[in-house]
């Protein structure tokens, strides 16, 4: 995977706080190369679309059968036959195409999508993803396209908060929630740092309002600076 980081060193952005949700979305969008075919998961990842150049640079895929998805539809634009995977009415852009579900997931599993951005409950240090089921008794399980997306796209980016409301880390040595996919995550975007998940371990690409040393002290999974991992 090619890095779009501005430097070969971990960037520690101090003198500021953690990223807002909009800033996180903008950070993910910045790292998606022009010309990419991209699937944005339900929830927070949807916001990334606000910062992508959909007219020319990036083509959005929605698993319910469309490439060239445009922004959310409003007012007269709303058409019940045109929705995204979250069943929100959307619009079509020039050059859009429609296809059936088997084709939609074949292009996903077949490795034709460049990037997908997903939310997560937990990501492990080797890139295992847990984002479909809390496993709590009484919870009705629903998987949708999460497992197909996790193993299908060439690059899988996760967007999540680094800690739960209770202060537990969500980047962990091993997931305790039921897995969505094994060793499938390439990057984790959080409000405090962006992490690269590499075969040799977790590397911090940049931090926001904190340092690598501070993160290392608060996480159970080992993390390294980019310059210490370079060439690995």
């Amino acid at each position: 995977m090619t890095l779009t980081a501005p430097s070969a060193r971990t960037a520690e952005h101090l003198g500021r706080g953690p990223l807002s949700r909009d800033e996180m979305a903008r950070t993910v969008a910045r790292d998606i190369p022009r010309g990419s075919y991209v699937n944005l998961g339900i929830g927070q990842p949807t916001k990334v679309a606000d910062y992508l150049d959909l007219g020319s640079g990036v083509v959005l895929h929605t698993e319910n059968g469309m490439l060239g998805m445009g922004p959310q539809a409003h007012g007269d634009e709303i058409d019940p036959d045109l929705t995204n995977a979250g069943k929100i009415p959307v619009t079509e852009l020039p050059g859009a195409s429609y296809f059936h579900h088997a084709d939609s997931f074949a292009m996903m599993r077949g490795g034709h999508l460049d990037v997908c951005v997903l939310g997560a409950f937990q990501v492990s240090g080797r890139g295992d993803l847990a984002n479909w089921h809390t496993g709590e008794p009484g919870a009705i399980p629903a998987v949708g396209g999460a497992m197909d997306l996790a193993i299908g796209a060439k690059s899988v980016y996760v967007m999540m908060s680094l800690f739960t409301r209770d202060g537990a880390a969500k980047l962990v040595p091993a997931c305790t929630y039921p897995l969505t996919g094994v060793a499938c995550v390439d990057r984790v975007y959080t409000e405090q740092a962006t992490f690269l998940i590499r075969p040799d371990g977790v590397v911090v690409l940049e931090t926001f309002g904190t340092t690598v040393a501070d993160l290392a002290a608060r996480l159970e999974v080992p993390v390294r600076r980019l310059e210490d991992a370079a060439g690995a």
Binding site: T62, E63, N64, G65, M66, D79, P80, D81, L82, T83, K87, E92, Y98, F99, H100, H101, A102, S104, F105, A106, M108, R109, D128, H133, G138, I140, P141, A142, V143, G144, G145, A146, M147, D148, I151, G152, P178, L179, T180, G181, V182
Partner: protein, 229 residues
């Protein structure tokens, strides 16, 4: 050959208790509401229903569930903000659920329609949904063996059909329709409009009529469809 039915009731006639019914739609987009209403009226029960979701609100699939006709749901995403009918039945232990990843659900029906005996799929490998399934490592990657999913009946909604059963769809309402049409012994399709043979450009046909057994015109599902043709 495709038969054009006069009414949705005629289109669903003969569906038996215990059938496996594939029902198109992603949420309400592509949901064959008129055919489902006719099926409720027709009375078949003890059904296994295959659909992406497990009903929205009180209409369509949710109404069939509420009528107590479904023994088992096979779907990818039952839990939604408006899936209260299914949620209630599930929590009361009145319905069985088989959860299948969305792409695997589509591909299992594609396999059924294409005469494939089974296939190895990377989706769900190493997760709870692969438990108990045969796996195999191919070129260093783990795959899960998945079997075809056949329907006795498919109920789907397309946009326009000609009298030979050739179909075109509309936008993302296409979703599972073309795959389900191939995967059932009896495929029943509702369309906004039935047109004469030759009125559809053969280059634009999405589902060829060979897959369609019964066709019924129900008029546009909503105002937006009236303008499109």
């Amino acid at each position: 050959m495709t038969a054009v039915a006069a009414t949705p009731a005629e289109a669903v006639a003969g569906i038996r208790d215990g059938s496996t019914v594939l029902i198109g739609g992603f949420g309400m987009a592509g949901m064959p509401v008129e055919l489902i209403d006719a099926l409720i009226e027709q009375g078949a029960g003890d059904l296994t229903v295959v659909s992406n979701n497990a009903g929205n609100g009180d209409t369509g699939l949710a109404a069939l569930l509420a009528a107590g006709r479904v023994r088992k749901m096979i779907c990818s995403f039952p839990r939604q903000s408006d899936s209260y009918v299914f949620d209630g039945l599930y929590r009361a232990g009145k319905i069985e659920l088989e959860l299948v990843p969305q792409g695997t659900l589509a591909e299992r029906m594609r396999a059924a329609g294409a005469g494939i005996g089974a296939f190895y799929c990377p989706t769900s490998a190493g997760t709870p949904l692969a438990e108990g399934k045969e796996t195999r490592v191919i070129d260093g990657r783990e795959y899960v063996l998945e079997y075809p999913l056949r329907g006795d009946v498919a109920l789907i909604r397309a946009h326009i059909g000609d009298r030979m059963g050739n179909l075109v769809y509309r936008k993302t309402a296409r979703n599972f329709g073309p795959v389900m049409a191939t995967a059932a012994a009896l495929t029943v399709v509702q369309v906004s409009r039935v047109v004469e043979v030759g009125a559809l450009d053969p280059e634009n046909v999405v589902t060829p009529g060979i897959y369609v057994d019964r066709l019924v015109e129900v008029g546009p599902a909503h105002a937006a469809q009236q303008e499109a043709s």
